[in-house]
Symmetry: D2
Subunit: 372 residues, 4 copies
């Protein structure tokens, strides 16, 4: 006989908890918690304006970034592809960066100088970041452009290596020229995510060639429209783990390959970067053993923008849930763990199914919690 | 150079597709598609009213079922536990069923006569369905009550076998008395889901003992409050695969163990029942090869109330997504499959991570699609 | 030339203000601010349970009231109409009140003992509140029932005087019997609102006969369903202006006719009660003169559950709005007042179009604000 | 006694009607029904791009208009104010119009050639529409610019006459120069609404001087951000009543002053234009007399984007509502009219409180409906 029905119903009054409200209230902010030793910076390092083939003035890019709470952006207008050149003569390839930098002054936003070296395949399109003068990249020979970028100390990454124009099967393929560039310190990263696409093959190339894993919007129109932001979508970003919120520190982090790409609720990166990030995102707290039972109430909370899909690998199962759990962005999930004994401390292990450390590979995390 | 940016942006106009609207518009209806050879009926076969320890008149149970679009319900008031007996004297244990049956007349709703045999552990609480006279179950000895239920042709299932009152560790444990009942055709099913709980151990018992897998609400208060229906929650139901929408046919299906439990976005049942259900829920259609590429656009659609978590097991990967995909309830997901060749027909294989056919076991489905 | 466009756009970043969030986030709570000298108590003093012709046990009525944040309720089951009498024998007409009182103990909720004297027209149905024993009202003659209620010190009000069963034209009409009752202190109030109906004629009768203006749900089923609470609806309530949160004080307030009915975003009552309530609900604060102009920015805020429709009667007009303004529940509205001079203090006058002090009559309020 | 409670509750099942869904599902589309003899065209005839002081390329303006379902737009870049002239040299003042016209080809969108003559006060800023060559307006003397515009057959309207830069009290004031322009057919309209402002004084000037009533966005940044479109906001538009969807027909309509401004849920215009529009927006249908009563059920529906506030002026009152009613955009409102007799046909009269035909003046409409 269930003797406590009154109390039971009282608990179930239709009043949404704070956690639920937090989850339902859509926010466009893209922010992840810091990890031990590093700030976690949200970056979008591939963007276009009217100064090449984009459709907005640089201030709109700054305002979009502010709305998304990004930490770092770069205007990477094409050097060689200028469909508006009749209206906007190409007298200064640094101009979109200069304007964005001015517009960014009221915001806590780092603007990195960049440009897109836009050549046929190979090498295809390549972003050069941390340059000093984009005008000097405007040279006939593509290898010369890369050499000049290197001379300026640029961090160079291969854009949309899976682009249809370059490959009918959308498979990123490394050309000898890329191998040469990599060997000669003229190619450091690769877009695993560009705009709406994700390339498993690009991820494999990044791992094989020891390249920085990048994800960018490559936005030309409006971020809000392209990513259906008001229906809960978001642009791809590269999370950069930097010691400081400075251009120098971001540069050091990119050269050191300390990145995780956040796109479409996926977190893509090397295991040594994804796992600390997941550990920073997920917290576990105890609500104590239920009554006189050996069932421990715990709360998993997700301190990030990403929905997380967790597959239970623990030695325990749950009283209310199966072994695959969705932890909503910014939300929490109460679990009742069947401990079978009154342990002072337990450990839960989860495989995070939407985190990716290599094609088809998902990291495991382990979280301990004291019962009281 | 991206030459088609104008067309590109045009595609991305901020107008939500029909599919998105369908998904966002919350519906409380619990309905799943039929499977080959059977109707898929949504049932809630464990409910209480003021006639035992519930808090509503039977018409509210009928209206809740109509709101949820259930096909089958049963009023299973306790025989032995009657906290309102001072106000509602126990003169007729059939009364809540009689009233529910009358109230159900305007609806397409089958009401099955039932009662809860409410004894200490063992055997604990047991529902008897398809009885003719609940008054005859009101006998001192619990075994006599089961015998009478059997005499009336009842389908009997063990309620909340993981109940705290019976086990401190919330682990369902089979007692010798249950084994006897099973052997003597006096116990046919077991609740793997009761109200807000799911028991892996109960599922294992069902599989080991060849019992029908059951999930019920055991509702005493209001369904809307208990399951936060207006925030998207739903009550647990047992999907019953019956040849007809009749009491006889439902009875035959339950005795034949043709059930899948739907709870908390889990689909729990034997593989031979879960797989046809998943195949009925998920459809795959082709949008053709993209341009001149070997990338095939397809649309996965989910014709059910359950969110589905799919892990790609195909020989192909996707151009926009990782290997774990969320297919929203009543929604769809467009995929771009990197086929690498212009095949006329392809096959996609997915493990459905939130379908459960045994503890920790998730079924795989395979879906073919013609390219054109 | 607009020289400040950059700053302008910065202001317009797509980040919703707190006020907007407050407004959009639906709350079912029915609470109004206190007025000078009185607490404003939300009451629903006409409700049914299974003990007459309702469909829920009294605890559900308590939980509904808690969910709505009501202050005062009454179970007013019929004495004479008992369709469930076969199942629930009428041995104690006080029982639903006794049970509700027990269930209400954990809540800050006053439960007033009541009953519905249910007779043919005239007098029709009448609620008696603050009685001590409902059983004594169960007498053959209706006048005797009223006399007994009076003997117990009851506050008596005429229910749904516009009921179709009593009048084909839905027009409340006073009968000689009512006049007698009023004269002899056996009728003190009248429902101007019952369930989903509002009666202008009943309001006129209340004003003409000096009766207390009442509004109640007369709920039989579920409040959530009847008033579409999850789509933003609410039950009708009588706001009672009482000196204390006690039965005695509420009784004194009702006899003194200190009520306003809140229904369907209307506030219906005598001017001397509606105006202080509106003044408590609406606040006006200054944001200062804009730049060097004579335009004063002000914020109107609505500290109530009711949407308010304000018609500007001030000597000023507004720079962004017309003369009719909607002030959302719990929300605010920024106005720019064209003062035409740098006055230290201004006064705004509004007619509140959805407040009703007599048929077709809407009160005016006047709010002053200092510019700095 | 209420004998029909079961049926009653059945009606109140928590299933939202189609009308409710229609209302809740936010749409950004700005469209109003046609009126007798004319198409009702949604226009925004004052917009900026990067070619003067705006921040987007002309294609974004076209896409915004398509998203809002506008019928007519105009790029009215400043002739004299060119803050981006260093990057975009002013070689062709027609260029933003040329580009917008090309981008508009896939859409059902009329693009009218325009420019903003941008001078100090008086005359202040003036839009010239239907011109052939904006370059010819680039002359030193402002009167010469107006003369050239007139020579090209332009429709000229005064922009933001209440602009702070020109008047500290935000009061539109007619200067002798404006009177001269009006007399000499060089000024035909006036912005009563510009961006987020509404000017009662400008409306009075329009009525006194027989000018066309205009409302425009004057957008420089993004429409979605400036008007909080995803929270339900919208840009101001001028509804133009034209015989055909052609430039010529729109021009004729503007010269003939056939406009209504839609802004912030206000409909502002001359009575002869507002009343037919309201009659086209509001429909009334009968649901028949209720039972054997003399209460007629009717449905008011709102076939427009504007929320409408209706004050009942009929000889009847309503059984469920007071005399002020909100009719939601695209939604409907059921009324129960207390007719007091079984008339075959009735007439309802409403003052539309948020329609404005002169400062403080709201039009009345009268709608008849047959009972069966």
């Amino acid at each position: 006989m269930k003797l406590l029905h009154i109390a039971f119903i009282i608990i179930c009054l239709p009043i949404a908890s704070l956690a639920q409200i937090q989850t339902h209230q859509h926010s466009r902010v893209i922010q992840f918690p810091d990890v031990p030793g590093y700030l976690t910076l949200s970056t979008d390092l591939h963007q276009h304006t009217v100064f090449s083939d984009g459709y907005v003035w640089p201030n709109i890019r700054v305002l979009e970034a502010a709305a998304d709470s990004l930490d770092v952006i770069s205007m990477t207008d094409h050097i060689e592809y200028l469909p508006h050149k009749e209206e906007i003569p190409p007298v200064n390839f640094n101009r979109s960066h200069e304007l964005a930098s001015q517009y960014a002054l009221p915001y806590d936003l780092v603007v990195i100088q960049g440009a897109e070296i836009t050549r046929g395949y190979p090498p295809g399109h390549t972003n050069a970041l941390f340059i000093q003068d984009a005008n000097l990249l405007n040279v006939p020979d593509s290898v010369d452009a890369f050499k000049e970028a290197k001379r300026q100390g640029a961090f160079l990454f291969w854009n949309h290596p899976d682009w249809f124009r370059d490959s009918d099967d959308a498979v990123a393929t490394l050309h000898d020229l890329h191998r040469d560039f990599i060997k000669n310190d003229m190619l450091h990263g690769i877009e695993v995510v560009n705009d709406l696409t994700y390339s498993e093959e690009a991820l494999q190339i990044a791992l094989d060639q020891n390249l920085t894993i990048m994800g960018t919007s490559d936005i030309h129109g409006l971020v809000d429209w392209q990513y259906h932001v008001h229906e809960g979508g978001h642009r791809p970003v590269t999370l950069v783990f930097a010691t400081e919120r400075t251009t120098e520190s971001i540069k050091e982090a990119l050269f050191d390959r300390r990145t995780v790409v956040y796109f479409n609720d996926m977190l893509i990166g090397r295991e040594q970067h994804v796992k600390p990030l997941l550990n920073a995102c997920i917290a576990l707290s105890s609500n104590g053993y239920i009554g006189t039972s050996t069932v421990l109430g715990v709360t998993l909370s997700n301190n990030s923008n990403a929905l997380l899909i967790l597959a239970n690998q623990s030695e325990y199962n749950f009283r209310r849930d199966g072994d695959v759990i969705i932890l909503p962005p910014g939300g929490e999930k109460k679990l009742e763990v069947k401990v079978l004994a009154n342990l002072d401390e337990i450990k839960l292990d989860f495989q995070v199914m939407n985190a990716i450390t290599a094609p088809g590979t998902h990291p495991e995390i382990s979280i301990g919690v004291k019962a009281n």
